[in-house]
Point group: C2
């Protein structure tokens, strides 16, 4: 447990909480440290759970199986990352995904019902914790909404312009850097990389934008 405190201290869920207060808080939350071997299922699709987890070591995958049994990996989670927080907080009956330890992993499991219940010992941290959790879920919500706005556009050109103009607006400048390389941007926008690359150059040739590596400028 001691060796994981460092990771917990840097986790968003515990931001703003004094490291000294972390231990009593964890016991108040009934947090459970569990070790999983590579290949073990942490949460099984179809199950009900009230727990979410924090990856402390190793790696964890969010996996989905469709109606025909085709598996796909929705996310790879490294130490410090949360999983299942939306699923636990939404109190859904059957998990739509499975959580798999893709390497030997240590996990901290927390029952999310403990988050909202008032707590005698540590109430000061407790309300901070609730705010942190809401913050995490709400931020994810916003970024998902924005992504849908981009992907919903019909053509690659429109997707690019929607994304780039949002970045320009966020940077409050026509010049800005994006956090993706071309392949990552294509994946994010759900388009073909080479087609997107071609479209970017077409936009450049038409004088609509300039770019150099990750730096873009809208004209």
């Amino acid at each position: 447990m001691e060796k994981f405190m460092e990771i917990l201290e840097t986790a968003d869920l515990f931001s703003g909480i004094d490291p000294k207060d972390l231990k009593p808080l964890l016991s108040c939350l009934s947090g459970k440290f569990v070790h999983y071997e590579k290949g073990q299922i942490i949460l099984m699709s179809g199950e009900t759970t009230n727990s979410f987890g924090i990856v402390l070591s190793g790696q964890v995958q969010v996996i989905q199986e469709d109606y025909y049994g085709n598996r796909s990996i929705l996310a790879n989670l490294d130490p410090g990352n949360l999983f299942g927080e939306s699923l636990a907080c939404a109190e859904i009956k059957a998990l739509p995904v499975s959580i798999l330890a893709s390497a030997d992993s240590d996990i901290l499991l927390i029952d999310c019902r403990r988050l909202s219940s008032p707590c005698a010992n540590a109430c000061d941290f407790h309300s901070k914790l609730i705010r942190n959790m809401m913050n995490i879920i709400a931020k994810k919500n916003i970024s998902l909404t924005q992504k849908i706005e981009f992907i919903s556009k019909r053509t690659t050109r429109e997707k690019l312009l929607a994304y780039l103009s949002a970045e320009a607006k966020r940077a409050k400048s026509s010049r800005f850097y994006i956090p993706f390389n071309r392949q990552e941007l294509a994946d994010y926008l759900s388009v073909d990389r080479s087609a997107m690359s071609a479209e970017l150059c077409r936009l450049r040739d038409e004088g609509i934008l300039k770019f150099n590596k990750n730096q873009f400028e809208l004209l």
Copy 2:
């Protein structure tokens, strides 16, 4: 205020809370009833806010302006609906959208910092309220994630099959009803209605599915 209690009692945010307890809870939350004339801005893009709102009467629109100044309506909200809950809970500095009263409207504004703070008088309802709010945001999160999974597919056929197989899985049956008509489904999947209609018939002719109006069956 009295005339709006009925709507508040049915709002998801207050589900599980005794109507009698609603009034003290609202004063504990410092909820403010505000009337807006048609055309007034409730929250302005670029502002900072810690408040979210509940529509009590009239209609409210979530509006976005892109870098070039093009306006688009992201949502129409009727009485009982929440707005800005993710934005307030995420504590973001500048709102990416504006909230407009598209008709004369009554709104209940609540400061979301009041949600997480412990409260002397009504703590029992308070923790229920927190769970409700987390529930709402987390559920939205899940449905957004799922929508992205569908939209991310490259072809209309793949989008349809992803969506329909998710519905079949949810219904635990190869026969199920969908909550959309064709136009709504096309909008949801971000594709052209007529092209989608054609693709559905192609899938039918290939023996992959059957459908009749809103009832579908995967084979």
